[in-house]
Subunit: 449 residues, 2 copies
């Protein structure tokens, strides 16, 4: 069903580019979907991509550019002149245009904006550059259908046709006052069935959801998902209509957020793709690994402090990796559930209740696991005192690990810090250390050393 770029097509394209067969190339790209153009730009080499960008009309390439990864788009645009970049920007919806410009070097941003011919587009872009990228203002586009309450149906249809040329898809028709204050929306069905002389004020629906320009992207995503909205208008302090956010931008936003959380949980601190360079991947991965190293060194130091106990009770040492691993696993599970609950807004009740529940849960899990471990150690080493102290330690460690894993994300969230950073290596490492400390301390107590 989907378009697949075959190696043959790609080879063909490359040859045509080499030979400069512009007419053939233009024919090949005619009617191609911009997402497919993007895939081709991604597959060919650099010079070929720039060649295609210059050859194809901006209407095709501007949308394709927005499908590319940020860094690829940035590098491609860097190969163009400000004038050429402005031509691409000219064809983009305001939200895309602003994203593309924001990625450029600051020195050339102004030069590019200067070259934009459409004065309204230029003003919109300047306005939107002020909003935070992850706020409603940063997600919205200015293109929408707006009708004034004082218009008639006939005037409205006329205006809609004019506006619709700039708007790719009509999601909703928003009704505003003379002062541009959002007061409602218009159903297409009502518009189709009303007499042409009817005033809009008589047929519009006064109930319309909206978000404030400074609302956070994540809240907008949750709201649109909760109410199954496909578009939502964005207003300012005076409830004036500024733009609208559509669900396709929210889909991208949700995917990006999910990816970020997933990578944080796996100990990757900045967004990377499998195809990024080794340097980029190292920059994203090394910091958490250093933290892990520090944790390991800390654990070694702690064990060093128990040297005398351990020399005599050598068997305890064999189980330190087990204790550390279990502490890490339990902590990661607990934190993951809380982090997701917080993101979806369904963690209810007080922190104390939450911790109590986690404690009961950890006791249940800990009991099952400790019993198994007890019989294993007893069977293996035939020493009931070791078996007892190791399995009781595991039980306590699991409870503490569960509580730490629950508490840290809740605490960070209360402090206004993204709880997602608490998952993964952070929890694992701190639980490793706590786990080993508790383990050796309890063992010492039970063995009476």
């Amino acid at each position: 069903m989907a378009f697949e770029i075959s190696d043959i097509l790609l080879e063909d394209l490359k040859n045509h580019i080499k030979d400069g067969n512009d007419t053939t190339l233009l024919a090949l790209f005619e009617d191609m979907h911009h997402a497919d153009v993007a895939e081709i730009l991604d597959e060919v080499n650099w010079d070929e991509a720039v060649y295609l960008l210059r050859l194809l009309d901006s209407e095709t390439t501007s949308e394709a550019l927005m499908e590319l990864d940020e860094d690829v788009r940035e590098r491609l645009l860097d190969s163009l002149t400000p004038k050429e970049i402005a031509e691409e920007i000219e064809e983009m919806d305001t939200d895309d245009a602003v994203d593309a410009i924001a990625e450029l070097d600051e020195e050339i941003q102004e030069a590019v904006i200067e070259q934009i011919e459409d004065e309204e587009h230029k003003a919109d872009i300047r306005e939107m550059l002020q909003y935070d990228e992850d706020s409603a203002g940063g997600l919205m586009a200015k293109e929408l259908i707006r009708v004034k309450e004082t218009w008639t149906v006939a005037g409205c249809v006329r205006e809609m046709r004019r506006q619709a040329e700039e708007v790719t898809r009509v999601h909703s028709i928003y009704v505003v006052t003379k002062e541009d204050v959002l007061i409602g929306r218009l159903s297409l069905k009502d518009l189709l069935t009303s007499d042409t002389k009817t005033k809009i004020s008589e047929i519009y629906i006064p109930k319309v959801d909206s978000v404030h320009v400074n609302d956070e992207g994540e809240d907008v995503a949750n709201l649109m998902q909760k109410y199954d909205l496909e578009a939502i208008p964005v207003v300012d302090d005076e409830h004036k209509l500024l733009g609208r956010i559509t669900i396709d931008d929210i889909v991208d936003f949700i995917r990006d957020e999910a990816k970020e959380d997933y990578q944080l949980a796996a100990g990757i601190i900045q967004e990377v793709e499998a195809d990024d360079s080794i340097i980029e991947l190292t920059r994203a991965r090394l910091p958490w690994l250093f933290l892990g190293l520090l944790g390991g060194v800390g654990a070694a130091a702690i064990m060093g402090g128990f040297e005398k106990v351990l020399e005599e009770h050598y068997i305890l040492l064999l189980f330190t990796p087990l204790i550390a691993a279990m502490a890490g696993n339990v902590g990661v599970q607990s934190s993951a559930i809380i982090v997701q609950g917080l993101a979806n807004d369904d963690v209810k009740g007080s922190i104390a209740n939450r911790l109590l529940k986690e404690m009961l849960l950890a006791m249940l899990n800990g009991l099952a696991l400790s019993i198994v471990l007890f019989f294993f150690v007893w069977g293996w080493k035939d020493a009931i005192d070791y078996a007892l102290s190791i399995s009781i330690s595991l039980f306590v460690v699991i409870i503490v690990a569960g509580i730490i894993g629950t508490f840290i994300p809740l605490f960070l969230d209360k402090r206004g810090i993204d709880p997602a950073i608490a998952t993964g290596p952070f929890i694992t490492t701190s639980n490793d250390i706590f786990g080993i400390l508790i383990y050796l301390w309890i063992a010492k107590l039970i063995l009476g050393i």
Copy 2:
């Protein structure tokens, strides 16, 4: 902006339910959004929820039911008679109706379907129950606007008004032949601007994307996201139009998938919420913890095998938790990047290339970390041979861990198994064991024991 359920409102509601003030209750719920009704159903107790379900009209409650968690909805519906359930189902779009019925006990499913009065709805539901839940057929709804190519614009508008009553939102107008074969779509703009006597066959757009009823949900999600589609028609083998999938269902699908992957990475094997019962949470968490325990026991057994070495070279034991933790961390990072790359379809090149890249990356990271560890051990214990053997082991362990973390998900994917299960505890545990084994073996080699 969003509706918030205050404790006062909730208290009020509960009192009205106790006193049986049905008129007041009906007034309170009038015009309330179904997502908010759902939130209330979730907050009140069981009997109160059932009371509200019986009191409010099915139009309100049916949509609210679909917003609830699966298990809550299932339990609520179980409190109703087949006749009452059928009334709710009657008001649902086919995709929701099918989801709701599929959750019921098999014995009452047929009884409920029998009670549905609308014969077309009944037939649609029976048809859709056959499709796999995660396939295009399972995601689609039957409600859509379809027009025949032989109709005129006037006839089309008339038909659309009739059909639109059943369809909540008009996404696209699909054009079919007499035999119901999908041949294109109609733009609203063209419909508005064409003469009423024009034939649809003259103005429709013959280019329309579609998916096959058996296509996988994930592929549909990727396709819709790639091409920014808000709805896509679903066809059968003969390209007959069966239904359409809308972006809001895809948003739910994407969130659920992301959640599942995230939880798998954290060692949670079935989807749970923070508010689920302790038993449910234990069932989701204990299996991976048992695996971790097994890994720890395995590590202890391996270390037991090196008993003589370790007794003499006691210091080596202090670093086993560090080695195990680093092996786990690197493995999780590598696998997370591959799993995400596979999900987004941007892992290109052969497995061999991928492994080579990961090896280079691991060598770079490993070198940096090993140097730090070398100086730490040297400074702490003033024993260059220990420092050397521990840090060289770390270097090798990191490389092997990276390769395992990359290889396992690629291998599972090639075998048609979801690579997401390879992340988290699975990789951590196997890397723990491999790590310790390699560590002790290399140390033995270098120290010449």
